[in-house]
Amino acid sequence: MSSDDGEERVPLSRRPEWADVRPLPQDDGPNPVVPIAYREDFREAMDYFRAVYLADERSLRSLNLTSEVIAMNPGNYTVWHFRRLVLETLNVGLLEERDYVDHVAEHNSKNYQIWHHRRWLAEKLGPKAANKELEFTKKILTIDAKNYHAWSHRQWVLQALGGWDDELDYCQKLIEDDVFNNSAWNQRYFVITRSPFLGGLQASRESEVSYAIEAIMANPENESPWRYLRGLYKNDIDQFLSDNHVSEACLKVLKSGHNFLFALSLFLDLLCFGFQPSDEFKRVVEGLRNSVASSSDANLATSVCNILETVDPLRANYWAWRRSTLPSIVC
């Protein structure tokens, strides 16, 4: 393996500064299972790492060795943990460490250890690090807009260090880029419900409902805004039932006669909570029922379940279960 700058890697056994250390082989036993045919440079670096780890040698050369080992296997949590102990002991510049993590993370953006290390680092740096951290996650999200670790880190940064100002705009931009990006919708919900500057879910509900419905009308087959819309009424069933926007959105999509699965599913939720449907609703559902030839029932919610069972055979068992658990008060 050659190092980053292209120079040939000098084995540790040939480096004078390691002459006093006796490498410690892995204790795999005489008949190991799942044995890995390590390459020589990997085995050697790990042998030296084990030696300094066991001796708890918190030195600059140990720090450099962890960099070498991490470059080979960034998934080794023991090495990262030891690196933090060394950093704390040596009091090394944290900004320098951040540059280092920037570098490692570029090629390993889905690794738990790197993100945990990043969080540890940012916590030490405090609020002044917020911008840099947000920029960093933005960079990763440009490559993969659904990177789970990057989003978790971003949320942690916002809550622990701040930087909420542009977050709603950022969500907006990502949703515009790809309206099917559920991670961006989730982040929007996070901002709406948790930003200290937006006044909470109730204050934003009206505008968010419009936002979600607009996205639904453009792509009624997109599950993300439907779940978002439902989420806006979490723990507030009364509003969910009384807000005409929700039922009107359902009706509009149902009337169109295609891509109506999520609309019908949300309509079923409404009915289960005691929604009183208009005659128009009943007519539209009856029309759908006829068009898909599912069995009719005096009870509207039962009819809805029947339609869902027919048009969504993959979930036939689920809709049958929903039908069997319809509350008695539902019409």
Binding site: V33, T78, Q159, N181
Partner: protein, 445 residues
């Protein structure tokens, strides 16, 4: 017996794009279309061939899988260095897969596994990713499940349960949640692996479970699924971990179960397999993570039904009183909840399409040279082999009320009946018989 669902029921984002939008699809839609094309190509092929060829295509290539798995146990190439901190996982993925296939390894190899894992056991309890590495909850879970899967007295007694308890306690944060390792990250995975291990080893107590339930409850998102941390996105892996942990501590009723079921039910898509998150791509491993959630739910449906009713009547969730009362089987101790759970009645069939899922696994995930993969176009690996086979077992037994005494009917198993795998305990994901053996061992010692 093909189960290609009709396109009218499709729920994926690529279905029926408006004509004027076809020119301008988003990344999510483009990626989805690519996968759908590959998957449907396979399914169309299936509909064109003779019944004999069809039955061959549906076959589980047992010998090839065993060969691939056993080889990994004996030797792994240099490229596996990336899993050097996950070797107990490799043991679990491989040995659980072999056990699912109804096979076992010879006693010499079994002893070698026990010996190797003993070298991964920390002197202060718990297991690390390899000899000399720090103990870590995930590899501890993998090591314990491996040893239970082996099932010999030598294997089971090699676990230092006294020190294990101390290790688990050390991983518990003041908030109640668990960290993966000393100074490590705190998430729903950590809570599940800690609780699962403690429950399995009969060392679960009120100290370990304190405030775990409220942490997991805070991780349930507006979508219905569970995230790794409060605020993050609902995700199949964390949803399984969160629900299983909640059941093991008897607090499943704290979750919004109807919403959770709805979210998971919608994760199965036109490809017939499960996706991990809303609008993400199908992946065979979620056959277990998501399919397993719905398998667990089959025993919680009465609780979920009561929650639906309560929310209708009171306009909000639950009154705080525990609805999942296990008094029918009276668990004397917390560790026995996993045992009692299997005695709970299964009231109806699965809430997912189990034949369709089997079709995805056999045709799109199975690699004819042995092993399983995420989706067509990807490579096989041991992780996907383990979770595809686990998901296959879950779906084969999903209509079974008592898997140990009444095996599934032929029409519940896709392909030849010889495809039938061993049943698992869905809370721990170990073979059911091995679970009972381990439970008996740890209850009496």
């Amino acid at each position: 017996m093909a189960a290609v669902p009709s396109s009218s029921g499709s729920t994926r984002c690529s279905s029926h794009p408006h004509p004027h939008q076809e020119m301008k699809l988003t990344i999510t839609q483009l990626e989805q279309l690519k996968v759908e094309r590959k998957v449907f190509e396979i399914y169309h092929l299936l509909s064109d061939v003779s019944p004999h060829a069809k039955s061959l295509m549906m076959e589980l290539w047992r010998d090839k899988h065993i060969e691939f798995l056993t080889r990994g146990l004996r030797q792994l190439g240099p490229s596996f260095f990336v899993l050097d901190a996950n070797r107990p996982w490799l043991c679990y993925w491989i040995l659980h897969s072999i056990a699912l296939l109804g096979e076992s390894v010879d006693s010499e190899l079994e002893n070698n596994v026990v010996d190797f894992l003993s070298r991964c056991q920390d002197k202060d309890g718990g297991y690390g990713g390899g000899p000399g590495q720090m103990p870590h909850l995930a590899t501890t879970y993998a090591a314990v499940n491996t040893l239970v899967t082996l099932g010999s007295e030598r294997a089971l007694s090699s676990i230092d349960r006294g020190k294990m308890y101390k290790f688990l306690l050390k991983m518990k944060d003041s908030s109640g949640a668990f960290r993966m390792h000393d100074g490590g990250e705190m998430d729903v995975r950590a809570s599940y692996t800690a609780i699962s291990v403690a429950s399995m080893l009969n060392i679960l107590d009120s100290v370990l479970i304190r405030d775990v339930g409220s942490f997991i409850q805070r991780c349930q998102t507006y979508e219905g699924g569970i995230a790794g941390e409060p605020g993050s996105e609902a995700h199949g892996g964390y949803t399984f971990c969160g629900l299983a942990a909640m059941i093991l501590i008897n607090e499943a009723d704290k979750l919004d179960l109807p919403n959770l079921i709805d979210w998971v039910a919608f994760r199965q898509g036109v490809e017939c397999g499960f996706q991990g998150r809303t609008n993400k791509l199908v992946d065979g491993c979620y056959s277990f993570w998501q399919g397993g959630v719905l398998a667990l739910m089959q025993k919680l449906l009465s609780v979920a039904g009561k929650q639906s009713e309560a929310s209708t009547l009171c306009g909000g969730l639950g009154s705080g009183e525990s609805m999942y009362n296990m008094t029918s089987s009276t668990p004397g101790k917390l560790s026995d909840i996993g045992f009692s759970f299997m005695n709970e009645k299964t009231e109806c069939g699965p809430l997912f399409h189990s034949v369709a899922l089997q079709q995805y696994l056999l045709l799109c995930s199975q690699v004819l040279e042995g092993g399983f993969k995420d989706k067509p176009g990807k490579n096989r690996d041991h992780y996907h082999s383990c979770y595809c086979l686990s998901g296959l077992s879950v779906s084969q037994y999903s209509c079974c009320k008592d898997p140990r005494h009444n095996p599934p009917l032929p029409n519940e198993v896709l392909g030849p009946y010889s495809n039938l795998l061993e049943p698992i305990h869905p809370l721990y994901n170990v073979i059911l018989d091995k679970y009972y053996k381990g439970h008996e061992f740890f209850s009496s010692s």
